[in-house]
């Protein structure tokens, strides 16, 4: 961390970014972060690491990827947590999540896809078309997945602009779907071996499973500390940690998050909170929130509530389950099946039926003592918007109030949204 500002412009230019548009993007993210994050009171000191990460979001981390590739390393970009990071890392490559959390170059996007496409898809296409995402420019391969129809078709268009490979995720969880997915995982092994020129070994897989599990365990510690009242960390800060987990250096991230978890455990012991004791506790469930999409958390927490847990892909779905760590006598096949099964166990609305998600939501709401649930869905995300009905019914049966929010990345509905969230908190 040097005090001297580094000029990254030559690097961005080399990556083919549109420098003016990119300047405009960074100029927008800075104030957004300051307003949502730096304005918070009583933050854990360890969050300064994330302040630094965000300030260098397109700088230092991109430089690290750049240096890694200059030494022959390969970078794989992903949009979804169904792509197993363990396999990418076992082949010696790095995994990064790609930008998809802000409106950018929608005018260009709407020339090739309908206006009523979900914000996440429009965003990643906009970042690519507008030439402002350095992560995708550093990605030797983008791995997509067939989690929804919108993404599936968007990957065809993205494939015209970038090296894209798509994994087929089944839509049900029967035995034959499991067999199919296990085979798909082996295809992925062959694909990343071909990309990197490295062979994936059982030892390599075991090591990758361990390090990615360590990352998830660090996030689990943060989540566990959030059960306390007063809650030692804001929902926004906890969300940010998971968002950054997708693209940060794995070992460094794990170390920093464990330090934050130490601090949070200390805060809990001392009764120190990021929000006052008795603040209304909210569980958020629904569609993923990519950086810099902090909208719903920001509205809830500025209204005086506090988010205590997220049943999101940028939340518990990312870290709550681990791949079993097996002994040295396990075979490649056993390891790959274990990885496949762990990922198939994630409860995304792209599956039918997906009753397990409803029980996850209710169990978590009880365990984290949530006063209410906010169901957040991106507009035009059919799977989550429709599944909201099941979640609503489950919450009703459990006697937990639920507020349903369908929105996008724009700020045009912020007035009504704030009123609804404030009224919901007043109702609890």
């Amino acid at each position: 961390m040097s005090d001297q500002p580094v000029d990254y412009r030559p690097m961005w230019e080399k990556l083919g970014l549109d420098l003016d548009a990119h300047d405009a993007l960074l100029a927008a993210v800075g104030p957004l972060y300051a307003d949502a994050y730096l304005s918070q009171q009583n933050r854990p000191e360890g969050m300064s690491y994330f302040d630094f990460v965000i300030s260098e979001i397109h700088g230092l981390r991109i430089k690290e990827l750049d240096d890694f590739r200059a030494q022959g390393g390969k970078v794989v970009g992903t949009f979804c947590l169904y792509v197993p990071e363990e396999i990418v890392r076992a082949a010696g490559a790095w995994c990064v999540g790609l930008c998809a959390g802000a409106e950018f170059a929608y005018d260009e996007v709407e020339r090739i896809m309908p206006r009523n496409t979900c914000a996440l898809i429009k965003s990643f296409m906009g970042f690519k078309l507008g030439k402002v995402c350095p992560y995708i420019q550093e990605a030797d391969l983008v791995i997509g997945e067939t989690t929804c129809d919108g993404k599936k078709k968007a990957y065809e268009l993205l494939g015209e602009l970038h090296n894209v490979w798509v994994m087929e995720l089944p839509q049900m969880k029967r035995e034959r779907d499991r067999d199919f997915w296990r085979a798909e995982i082996r295809e992925l092994v062959a694909k990343v071996e071909e990309l990197t020129g490295n062979n994936i070994t059982a030892d390599g897989l075991r090591a990758a499973i361990k390090e990615v599990n360590d990352k998830r365990r660090a996030l689990q510690r943060v989540a566990a500390a959030r059960k306390a009242d007063p809650v030692p960390i804001s929902g926004k800060d906890a969300l940010l940690a998971v968002q950054v987990a997708f693209y940060d250096d794995v070992a460094r991230f794990t170390q920093m998050v464990n330090q934050i978890a130490d601090e949070l455990e200390q805060r809990v012991a001392n009764g120190v909170g990021a929000a006052p004791k008795g603040a209304k506790r909210i569980l958020v469930t629904g569609t993923p929130m990519a950086i810099p999409n902090w909208k719903v958390h920001d509205v809830i927490e500025k209204a005086g509530g506090v988010v205590v847990q997220e049943e999101l892909c940028t939340g518990s779905r990312y870290y709550s389950k681990l791949v079993p760590e097996m002994g040295e006598d396990t075979t490649m096949d056993e390891l790959l099946d274990a990885i496949a099964d762990k990922y198939l166990d994630i409860n995304c609305a792209c599956f039918t039926p997906n009753d397990a998600r409803c029980s996850d939501v209710i169990d978590m709401a009880r365990e984290w003592k949530a006063d209410g649930i906010v169901h957040y869905a991106l507009q035009f995300c059919g799977p989550y918007q429709i599944e909201a009905t099941h979640v609503e019914r489950a919450a009703q049966e459990a006697g937990i109030p639920l507020l349903k929010i369908d929105t996008d990345y724009s700020m045009e509905d912020i007035g009504q949204l704030s009123t609804r969230v404030e009224a919901f908190l007043e109702m609890l």
Binding site: P401, E412, G415, Q416, T419, A423, M427
Partner: protein
């Protein structure tokens, strides 16, 4: 305690002065382009110990005049319950929002729904349509009420509905029937929202649009339960905001 309740909305600023829980005065003024200044004029009249603001301008007002703001949803719950203790639901159609609220015992909000972002089916919608049909607002409601049938209107978006209305006018449709169709489509949408929160009667219909006799008639016809309209439907929010100060004081 003397409380001033302010409802700073998109179309009007409403004020209610309470003394020991009883209304001593009330006033309604156009929001204009500077609603906070309109509110300021009410505040300058004095006669209060505490101010509670609700409506779109509640946060700005709380910063300016002090006191803790309350949302329109909670405020309407309080106001409707005090006026009609037997009420089990509230419908508020205002200048740019529609809210449906299910009430539990004691006027507690148990569920609510509110339009997400646009002004579809609100007071603003009716104003735009009246202009498109060449009616004064009151005139449009009276024509709609008198029409023998309504023309089906499929758009609820203010912009699309205006085009649809223009199309109907050019086809030579009777404007009273169009007006009735517009009111019917708002009523249909509103009744759907009431169903979604499982609203039971008696229902209190408040907000500026409750002064529209055609809307009241259509909601009465479509709602399964009693519909109560307060004499001064527009000030229920300001009244409820003022009452919320007393309730907090009691519970504290």
């Amino acid at each position: 305690m003397r409380v001033l309740g302010l409802d700073i909305g998109s179309r009007s600023v409403d004020a209610v002065w309470l003394n020991d829980g009883r209304i001593v005065d009330w006033a309604v003024a156009d929001s204009g382009f500077d609603p906070q200044a309109v509110a300021e004029a009410f505040v300058a009249r004095g006669g209060h110990d505490v101010i509670v603001a609700t409506g779109y301008g509640r946060h700005a007002a709380a910063q300016r005049f002090g006191g803790s703001p309350v949302t329109e949803i909670t405020a309407y719950g309080f106001g409707a319950h005090k006026l009609f203790p037997e009420a089990r639901a509230v419908l508020d159609i205002g200048g740019q929002d529609t809210k449906v609220i299910a009430l539990g015992s004691g006027g507690k909000v148990v569920d609510f729904e509110m339009n997400d972002k646009c002004a579809a089916g609100t007071g603003k919608f009716l104003e735009v349509m009246a202009r498109a049909l060449g009616f004064e607002l009151e005139e449009m409601a009276a024509s709609a009420l008198a029409a023998d049938a309504g023309v089906a209107i499929s758009s609820m978006c203010t912009v699309f509905a205006e085009s649809e209305v223009t199309g109907l006018v050019h086809r030579g449709e009777d404007r009273a029937r169009i007006a009735r169709g517009l009111h019917e489509s708002i009523a249909r949408r509103t009744l759907g929202a009431l169903k979604r929160v499982n609203a039971r009667g008696p229902l209190v219909f408040a907000g500026g649009v409750a002064k529209n006799p055609a809307m009241v008639a259509l909601i009465r016809a479509g709602f399964d339960g009693e519909v109560l309209v307060p004499d001064e439907a527009q000030i229920v929010g300001a009244y409820g905001a003022a009452l919320s100060a007393l309730s907090e004081r009691v519970s504290a």
